[in-house]
């Protein structure tokens, strides 16, 4: 069931929908006069090896540093993780899920997951062009580097576990970074409804969960 929000959250959702639906008649898209833009967004790649999501998606994960670093308390580590994610992509929003409260099949043996939402001009699930995949690229960039940092800290951190779109969105809601509007669409307060949930980062780094 889509989660209903109330009060200010409701108003925020409604404004987000209205701003997305309404377009002033004299305001044109900045790419309206670009004859190549449609193909950039929607034409499938002739060779997928030309796409960054393919390159990062096939990248191997490195080893875990053998000597674990000295950590701060879990709440501070969680804030550092989010600070790094925001630093890597200023428009991203990251939340942390306690996987012990989730389905064990979804947890894959990890205690925590970091969920990152990025701004998406186009939905990468329906726009296969190089431009259409930009949000997917951004949604890989942030978790990949954060996972590298966690492994270099001496803890497990993986972005290679297959997670479906539904599961990603479920985790985003569980992490408290997104809500469902009345139509069941995912809404991230800072980003509106034009969002993509990036790769889910599974980790055993001691963190304080959100949500």
């Amino acid at each position: 069931m889509p989660r209903r929000s109330g009060g200010l959250s409701q108003l925020r959702d409604d404004l987000s929908r209205v701003s997305g639906a309404l377009r002033l008649p004299w305001k044109r898209s900045k790419h309206d006069d670009d004859p190549y833009w449609e193909a950039f967004i929607n034409r499938p790649a002739a060779d997928v090896r030309n796409l960054i999501p393919e390159i990062i998606g096939k990248a191997a994960e490195g080893n875990i540093f053998p000597t674990p670093s000295e950590l701060h308390s879990p709440d501070v580590m969680a804030s550092h993780l989010k600070e790094l994610a925001r630093y890597l992509d200023a428009t991203s929003v990251t939340g942390i899920v306690d996987l012990s409260k989730q389905d064990p099949e979804l947890a894959h043996g990890f205690p925590y997951a970091a969920v990152t939402a990025v701004h998406a001009d186009n939905d990468p699930y329906v726009a296969p062009g190089v431009g259409g995949q930009t949000a997917k690229q951004d949604g890989q960039f942030v978790p990949f580097i954060v996972a590298c940092w966690i492994r270099e800290l001496g803890y497990r951190g993986s972005v290679k576990i297959e997670v479906s779109r539904e599961q990603r969105e479920h985790l985003a809601v569980a992490a408290g970074i997104a809500t469902r509007d009345r139509d069941g669409r995912l809404t991230v307060p800072k980003l509106g409804t034009r969002v993509h949930i990036g790769e889910i980062l599974f980790t055993d780094l001691p963190l304080q969960a959100d949500g």
Binding site: D34, N50, G62, V76
Partner: protein, 485 residues
């Protein structure tokens, strides 16, 4: 490659410095003036119709023997005044160091040390514990994708240029420009740079002339560094500003390279000197610190490996934002440089190019001695008066300078420099905190300074007040390391 430019008086270029008397300088000025006239005359062909001008005999860019003249217009800050010998990419600081030509200590530091800090290991390719924990290992590798056999027709290169720039910005670039390819800013024949060493293609052995004719355009795109963390120059926090932007930049350029192939055109990397291409593409001007200084971000950009392509485009022109005039007066980077690697003097002619020449060796050689504190110095970037947040007041100052006629600029520059020194400090050392790092800690100290952290640390927690940052090495200590020239 073929000599196509007048050689200067040898006394002017001996040891890379101008001769002691005024004759050599006058000679250089004469050649500069002539080259400027030529560049202006060649503008319409060299800059705007690169494809034709590079193949037609009689074009200002084509010598009678059919080779390209090396007279790219790179703006006021850099001029080609003599023979340019194309640089072999393997003669750069890092390749020399890898081969052990800079000494055992340097080689050991670069090739065998692992950073003590976890975030540095994840963001610095030469000091990571596992290359697979560094994203650019994958995004900067040789392209494996094929060129689309269904080529997109380009009836109007201007429209395609506008599109490519919009694409680069959409993919995450902060600045993008297009230059007409010229052999002067190509690497020497057969020396291509790709991180994984797999740039083996049919273009590998082409000479700079052949490459410039086969691929008439260069696309340079860059991602600006974060301003606030950069204020902790000579600190791991500042390193992050540089490393994170370069990781994103590598991804943006690789994505753009892939898109050009999807359009049905060839795109190759590792063949072009990034700064030369950036200057010709109008991204900025070359400063006294040897860095590209841009209109919006100052020196906080890194020119990465640009894309050389046969996609029909429309080249940009070099810009004049007043860097040439500012650097003559300012010298703030030279005052702050911890290794005295930046000259206080005038430009010199080096390899046929008149520019400010930094001492790259002294800049580079300090690194093993400070590796526990930082990886990349970045002081000259951070203190540059052009390096400011991309805010309205920054743009107003920039417009005031670039809009003024050249003779009227010196008083404006002195006023802007005075404001910069007053507000940002003559020797900036601001305290910066990021992800538990705190430059308020004295050099060599390690402690948690986060209020509310309840973890048990090996060093006692410190509460620091004030806004002063501490950065190694202290300037007075490095006077002994490298004497000011």
């Amino acid at each position: 490659m073929a000599q196509t430019i007048d050689r200067l008086d040898p006394t002017a270029t001996k040891n890379g410095k101008s001769g002691p008397d005024g004759a050599a300088t006058a000679n250089v000025d004469l050649v500069v003036a002539r080259r400027q006239r030529q560049a202006k005359k060649a503008d319409s062909t060299a800059v705007y119709e690169a494809t034709q001008s590079q193949t037609d005999l009689g074009s200002p860019l084509v010598a009678p023997d059919g080779t390209l003249r090396m007279v790219p217009d790179m703006g006021r800050s850099v001029q080609i005044v003599g023979t340019v010998v194309n640089v072999d990419v393997n003669d750069g600081p890092h390749p020399k160091n890898i081969r052990g030509e800079l000494g055992k200590a340097m080689n050991h530091w670069y090739t065998k040390t692992i950073a003590k800090d976890a975030l540095m290991r994840a963001t610095d390719n030469s000091h990571t514990s596992d290359k697979r924990n560094f994203l650019t290992t994958f995004t900067n590798a040789a392209s494996k994708g094929a060129v689309n056999p269904q080529r997109t027709e380009v009836p109007d290169p201007k429209v395609m240029s506008k599109h490519i720039k919009a694409v680069a910005l959409h993919l995450g670039a902060s600045l993008v420009g297009i230059a007409a390819a010229n052999p002067a800013f190509m690497y020497a024949a057969g020396s291509r740079y790709v991180q994984d060493g797999e740039a083996n293609d049919v273009y590998q052995k082409m000479t700079p002339d052949e490459l410039a004719k086969r691929f008439p355009y260069v696309i340079q795109a860059t991602v600006a560094w974060d301003h606030d963390t950069l204020q902790a120059h000579r600190h791991h926090i500042g390193d992050l500003s540089y490393h994170c932007s370069t990781m994103r930049n590598a991804m943006v350029l690789k994505s753009l390279e892939g898109y050009i192939k999807e359009l049905g055109y060839t795109a190759i990397r590792g063949a072009v000197n990034p700064q030369g291409a950036g200057l010709a593409a109008g991204l900025g001007e070359l400063g006294r610190n040897g860095m590209m200084i841009t209109e919006r971000f100052g020196a906080r950009v890194h020119m990465q490996d640009p894309i050389l392509t046969d996609l029909p485009l429309f080249a940009d022109k070099p810009i004049d934002i007043g860097v040439e005039d500012f650097c003559k007066i300012c010298r703030k980077c030279a005052s702050n440089c911890p290794t005295n690697s930046i000259t206080f003097g005038d430009k010199i002619v080096y390899n046929g190019i008149k520019k400010y020449k930094i001492n790259w060796l002294s800049c580079y050689k300090i690194r093993p001695f400070v590796a526990d504190h930082y990886g990349s110095c970045l002081t000259c970037v951070a203190v540059c008066p052009f390096t400011k947040p991309d805010a309205w007041w920054r743009r107003v100052g920039g417009k005031l300078l670039s809009g003024a006629p050249i003779p009227a600029r010196p008083p404006i520059i002195r006023a802007l420099k005075w404001i910069d020194d007053k507000f940002w400090g003559e020797f900036p050392s601001k305290r910066v905190r990021f992800m538990g790092y705190d430059s308020g800690l004295k050099v060599g100290e390690h402690a948690c300074t986060i209020e509310g952290c309840t973890a048990e640390h090996s060093e006692p927690q410190q509460i620091i007040t004030g806004n002063v940052g501490h950065y190694a090495p202290i300037k007075k200590n490095t006077e002994a390391f490298v004497k000011r020239s």
